[in-house]
Symmetry: D2
Subunit: 385 residues, 4 copies
């Protein structure tokens, strides 16, 4: 039987709600059956029925109602988990109530509104003994998993230089006053938090760097900017990084790089080899060596390792994209939920997806980046305490 999913947020005008629905259902193990898509009742029902094909009585006015009423349904009908795709300031209350109601949780990044909230959320997750996945979806790409594997087996040698970027141009103009809902909440401190660009996409870059290298950023020196006049949060930033154990790097994030679509890229150089990847052509991984020609590993192609193969659905040459990568997280989440459901201790479930640990790191990154920038790029320790 498929796992049943309930969504909070993701109503009309949302892009990410549909993404979660498609990603969750792609591998045939999950089905969206309920949701509180909007705080406006009519809108929630309209979203549920028209966008998601749900029956009206599973479309709720708000998340509290949804969690309460779903809890009261028979076990073979009620949702198994809740996906949280609201603006950032609601992540913590929704997730906490979902956990307390006994549901597993999938939550969009950044995990919470503040670092203390993220730390608190971790406590709640542990107490609830539920599965919690954070959708740093770019980790689902097979070639990211290949890159990470190459680091893990030492193929690249000790890492030295790390360049990670997340560059967009869609906020080069002041869309937030032109009726663009995506722009509105992302540039509103009361819904986004203390950071704009660096929280919205810088966290993805940061998490990707730590995920791929399996190493932690220890110090950072940040220069955040707000280029668009009257914007209230940063829309661009450059951050020097020092990782534990010696590697150094740079993280660039921007939403004002006019004309650039969505270029998350990462390059790692070690003593023996290097890898280069860009989300815009996600099925290729350039692997460089000093003593032989560079090679290009491909999703589904020869020579890639098991972690990449596991995240692949199609033969080489059949491009897999953003949704497929996203779906890898849901596929692995579903496996963990089933293990949990069949009695496996929570600590023994395979949690092959970003978790609240990534969320805490991400919030600590945001706080350190903002603090450093406010102190004229002072080197700031990234601490999660």
């Amino acid at each position: 039987m498929k796992l049943r999913m309930g969504m909070v947020g993701g109503g009309e005008g949302s892009f990410i709600g549909t993404v979660h629905r498609m990603a969750a259902e792609l591998d045939g193990t999950i089905q969206l059956v309920a949701g509180a898509f909007s705080s406006d009742e009519k809108r929630s029902i309209r979203s549920g029925t028209e966008m998601y094909g749900l029956v009206p009585n599973r479309c709720y006015n708000n998340y509290k109602e949804m969690l309460l009423r779903e809890s009261q349904l028979p076990a073979d009908q009620r949702i198994d988990f809740v996906t949280v795709v609201t603006p950032n300031h609601l992540h913590h209350p929704v997730a906490v109530l979902a956990l307390e109601s006994g549901f597993h949780v999938v939550c969009d990044k950044p995990a919470t509104f503040t670092l203390p909230e993220a730390l608190d959320l971790k406590v709640r997750i542990d107490q609830a003994e539920r599965i919690f996945a954070l959708t740093h979806n770019y980790t689902g790409y097979p070639m990211i998993r290949e890159a990470r594997h190459l680091v893990q087996i030492g193929a690249l040698g000790k890492l030295r230089r790390i360049n990670v970027e997340y560059i967009q141009g869609w906020l080069a103009d002041r869309l937030e006053v032109l009726g663009n809902k995506q722009a509105e909440w992302r540039t509103d401190p009361s819904r986004s938090g203390t950071a704009g660009c660096i929280g919205d996409i810088g966290t993805h870059a940061f998490q990707l760097a730590e995920f791929t290298t399996n190493q932690k950023v220890e110090w950072l020196s940040s220069d955040l900017s707000t280029f668009v006049p009257a914007r209230r949060l940063d829309d661009d930033g450059n951050i020097l990084l020092r990782f534990e154990g010696g590697p150094k790097g740079v993280l660039c994030a921007s939403q004002i790089a006019v004309g650039v679509e969505n270029n998350l890229s990462i390059r790692l150089y070690g003593e023996l080899g290097g890898v280069e990847w860009s989300q815009l052509e996600p099925n290729s991984l350039v692997v460089r060596w000093n003593d032989r020609p560079f090679e290009v590993r491909r999703t589904g192609g020869p020579g890639v390792h098991e972690p990449a193969v596991e995240a692949t659905r199609l033969p080489a040459g059949h491009p897999e994209g953003f949704l497929e990568a996203f779906a890898v997280l849901y596929k692995n989440f579903a496996r963990a939920v089933r293990q949990c459901a069949s009695g496996t201790a929570i600590g023994n479930c395979e949690q092959d997806f970003p978790t609240i640990e990534d969320g805490i790191r991400g919030m600590a990154f945001i706080e350190a980046a903002v603090a450093s920038s406010q102190q004229n790029s002072k080197w700031t320790k990234l601490t999660t305490e």
Copy 2:
């Protein structure tokens, strides 16, 4: 309510069955509920329950049983349409019985085993007044639709040169004797028909050329080859093309181009402009002009036209791939089925997907290509009568 889909073929070891399931369900309008996945009863049930999460009583021993028993289910339970993903020789009998049983049909390409079968199938479709879609899935890519639109509005001027290729390398060795089921039936004349490579992938290239240009190939001169010793069907071919109205071109198809994944590409050059596209990077369309720099149009990006936008789900920079393109056909098919169900005359349903007409053209192409090659590349008229 979602449309209910029944599948014939696509059992264990099949790649394409899962592809159809994922593509059909992606947009939330279709759900696979039944299937005759294998002629082996246990295998069919195992496939249905394990690969597709179906309940056992909707997994049938064979397509005849499925069509009969599904017909007897209440209207709100039985399947709405049948997807045919068997080897080629079964397309005609399955499709015909499905139509006669009152179901709409989605069929894998090539449409049938022979041209007469395809012509016959068209008659049956017309008689049955059902929707029939042929999954030339590559037509679903947004940038293919942009290319076609540029031709249609005359932006490229009168076309002159057309290069279309479908190049693979996976059959460079004799996999058909090494237990590879995909290779087995594709190289077996009793299941594939008179052509190997040219039928399996050459038809995709042919259809893409006619689809994108909206012009018909009138004459061809073909040189087919079998490079792998003891193989029974062609595994490579080069074909000169002459289109109605003057354009000329070349079609190259190969399954022995060692190391090449799945490179379907098309280039069109008219009097005023040109376009170039490759399935390996499907979200870009190069558009060339003589008097200004070439531009690259992108899925979801600025400047693309409505037919491309309609086939796009995500903002620019979120790569869409093979499954998303495939799903466009199902999405459009579902719309036509709903229109039909709500009483629209069959001729007025929007059939924005390849149909039996494409299937007939494809079969005529195969027959002409084989005939020409057998006559030392004699120019052969492509006729559908």
Copy 3:
């Protein structure tokens, strides 16, 4: 001491004369000292002094005068060789007189106006015991030499499929009536010969295919077109190829592929591996295998073989281009001339550049391509007799 070069043709309005001058002088072993740049006396002098910085008394009215008067100069002043860059119909008379005057010859392609002329020229070269180089300049690219080497050592296995293209768009409009001198003579049968596009650039593609594979085209089936109204020679063509020993291929040449700059590309697929190269990014060679990721060999990079290294001047990452490749032919030509001058028997001089043999093959190719096209693409044997 540098070799002294005299040029015939290449006056004002010529592009190729300057190219030859730059290429010849690049490696410091040759210097242009004389020329008959135009049949118009004033123009010849003006070209020589202004374009090439020569002293007026080495700028001649015509090639006969140049060859005569240079012959009479002291041995340490007179030219060592003649470069022929006239329209095609003058190649033979100029080259023959140069040889008879005792000079070595560098000649632009195609070698002559007709096949009989090319055969005759070979006799003259043999008689004169002079060095003759034909500037199929694209053979000078290091990555072409790497590709050829990979074929020669059997790394790709027995070849099966060969795709070669030379695609341009600059003649998409009827420039020949708009005062473009390059277009004028290239579309004029009295100066170009029986073929337009296929002679001008098709020969480059043909020669590159034979050079790289070290195999000969035996049969061809050709479909040449003239798309621009009132043009007198072909401006586009597609040719099926059958090589001695079994490989098959396609040659596409076009000058009406609007917006395409100068895309000479070649792809070779054998039983074990494949290579792909395009002149537009000439410093990369894609090398494909069935069992491991594809690699990209680079000019000056690790893993490339001696023949490529010899043709390279700069470390990897310092792009070498068209002129550098061209200069490789002159560098090798200069070496052969010096060997000859120092008494090495002509047959023992290292002639690592295209010669009259390539010229004869090229003329035979043109004649066969035109003949086949005139006979509705009849398979035509490529014969040099």
Copy 4:
């Protein structure tokens, strides 16, 4: 008549001497006639005669002797200018003596060993009234000139973000102790100065950023590293930049990015548009806009502006590379020298190449980068006083 060039440095084992010779002579306006190629007499003569084809009596034991004896030659024989290609610590003394001897000077970058030397050199140049060119050769690429032009005409709007990188991998291992002469002096503080990587290639990136944007870096925050054990100078660095007037950026330089050849790249994003360029494919310039598809401008192609056209020799599609870009500087230098020789006041000569001003900026950059890094990335003002 060609200008006569004398070289200091560039003997056996040198890569850059030959580069200068080829670049200087490419356009037919300059000829190398003399040199002091090595402080070892025999080696200097051997280099001059074998590498450069000079007569022995123009090969000198050292630069002082060359400058003295060349000064004494008749005006129509002696050199017109001196090219300085020694290790960095000799730039100042050689250039100064050359100027005092009445010669124009071409000097490799960085201009001098220290900032005070560079400031002093400027005074000497002004006093001598000679032309001085600094070979920041990458500014010679046509597409760099196109990018700069787009900035100048305001096509990109006010600039916001600038990313510039110069990434190599050749020093990932400790080559300086393995007999690699290039590595030896570059990692030796007594010959290179206070900086390694950041002086050797970081200065190129810095100059390219200022050249292309026509804006000055005002502040920087630098994190330099030495990754290879026991190396005496930095081999990697990341630098935050703040430009006068508001733009921000990042400069990354590395010589330990294993497997990367020579990737100098620059990206500029303004309010209206952006440009992206990489030296590894130097003939393309990506130009991005928010409201229409991105375009790719090409060397020699349609739509590019006069400054790019002036730096181009060949039609589009005939790749120009490193040497051709380098030669643009020499071509422009030769023009200025001729203007000067024909009596134009030094201030009125067209000096379309980097000059001592760039040299001073470069030395100031190096000093600020080193100082900032030593003070834990303190924001440091880039001052040239």
